[in-house]
Symmetry: C2
Subunit: 334 residues, 2 copies
Amino acid sequence: MTGTARARVPATSALREIQAPVAEGLDDVVAEMKRIVTHQLPLIEQVSGHLLQMRGKMFRPTLTLLASETTSSPEPRAVTVAAVVELMHLASLVHDDSVDHSALRRGLPTVNSLFSHQVSVIMGDFLYSRALEALVGLADLDLMRVLTAVSTQLTVGEMRQLAAVEALAFSESDYEALIHAKTASLLSASCETGAMCGASQHREALRRYGERLGMAFQVADDMLDYTGSSDETGKPSGLDLREQKVTLPLILALPRLAPAGRATVERLFASETPSDGQIEEVITLIANAGGIDGARQRGEEYARQAEEALDGLPDTPARAALADAILYVMDRRS
Amino acid sequence: MTGTARARVPATSALREIQAPVAEGLDDVVAEMKRIVTHQLPLIEQVSGHLLQMRGKMFRPTLTLLASETTSSPEPRAVTVAAVVELMHLASLVHDDSVDHSALRRGLPTVNSLFSHQVSVIMGDFLYSRALEALVGLADLDLMRVLTAVSTQLTVGEMRQLAAVEALAFSESDYEALIHAKTASLLSASCETGAMCGASQHREALRRYGERLGMAFQVADDMLDYTGSSDETGKPSGLDLREQKVTLPLILALPRLAPAGRATVERLFASETPSDGQIEEVITLIANAGGIDGARQRGEEYARQAEEALDGLPDTPARAALADAILYVMDRRS
């Protein structure tokens, strides 16, 4: 979270450390995911196989398992819950990629590009539906309540994004509502449902931790566009600006811009395909107006709130890993 | 089901008669659907409003309510179950239209054509997710088990359709598996879940009734393309053939065609855009080979099985309406 923490370890090794207390459990989660999405229809097997192969960092299942292990009595069903959470995440990614016509995800072709748009819509439905069947199999209404509510929030988040037509009118509270729905809700549920599998006395604390972690996660993600450096150019990618998506650095900078600066931003958002020069200029304007620093502070505040939420938890390796997960989220470079 | 039955009443008035015993309940279902999909985000309200306005015949909720009223103790929650069933149906239609790039549904523009492809993918997710939240609210694991399993079947049905690349290799059992998944499964669940709300002693009979009714429904639907007459041309539309979809009449006719006839069918399926003449010729070939009569017999067999399933039910207006629903399904002209 600070300069020192940022320099400490490369993000990937940090993730491996965070996952160490639940490494075996994560293997079980992968096996459980396979079991849930297996189907005799060859096309479904092909797409499922591709999706499980492109599986990402398993960050959400990691949180679920860690949350369930914050006391000494984790329940084995946490593995199924973690698999359900990851499948819900995967289903939403498949639909997002289809909606955005994305060609790559995690370095592999997306379902819509490798198969078809049709297959990606229906496979997203299949994954979600199978995840729910597995959840129903656990016969716990409370778990179902939490996870079906989250799945609505994920769709509302996407709708908020689609509804934001007047980009520059997108306010700070619009942004908060958006990142809460599209990111924080599922990270929060990952932790809350983990707690419900063996650490229910810490359910509210872990729900809150996951929610704040999720807000920090998305702010950090949105900042990467402004602060990261692309391998090719050594400059920030500015991808969100190129796609005319408004995130926190721009929202915080906008009211502080002089009329000329504001006009430059408006020209970028009015042009069909903004040029590299335009993007670079606007990034500089935003940085000089304190938009990037402001967003970093906001992210650090969320991170602090996540840390505070862990205060009442017993001193276990799982708790330590959850605290490290905050640093990991703040440190991510990709 | 017979020539006499076909002539008896126009299909729409028959539907009104079938719905008479549950007319008030159906109004409650509409109100319940509105309650479930209401959301503060204006874009969601717009799309929901459009979807509720284009709402169709409410055939599935009709079955649910009738099933719950086959004994004297229907439960009020049948209204919520019926709303959930119809919303699941609506969600799958929204995704199907998006996948098929359809422009019209029930005489109104589809969500994908009126809003966008993106909005239709995400709104389908929203509808399904909200329906499940409402279902979880009923706190009945058994209902959840039935309806999440059906939702998987609906997606598998769509995947089967997408997977059928070698159209003319599509067998009778492929066809049965397809129509079971895409149509019979939800009609079956509509009846089964209705039974679970007040007539649980008839749950298996009503499940079976709905399943057989669904098979008959889809066969009748697929035959319309071959037997219906379009308003403009007075001839069968042959729409499935135009889209190179293989349904029962063609499947039954294929093995009976002489080599020359088979070659004509293969030419149609090999051509990018089949001509009206080609379609007319193939319809005649199929009719002459007994494909249409064979499909009609198969439909009548399903209808008989549906009727038999009602045998053990008490003699109530609801049971009579369910029996009429079989005639309605066999009689449909659109």
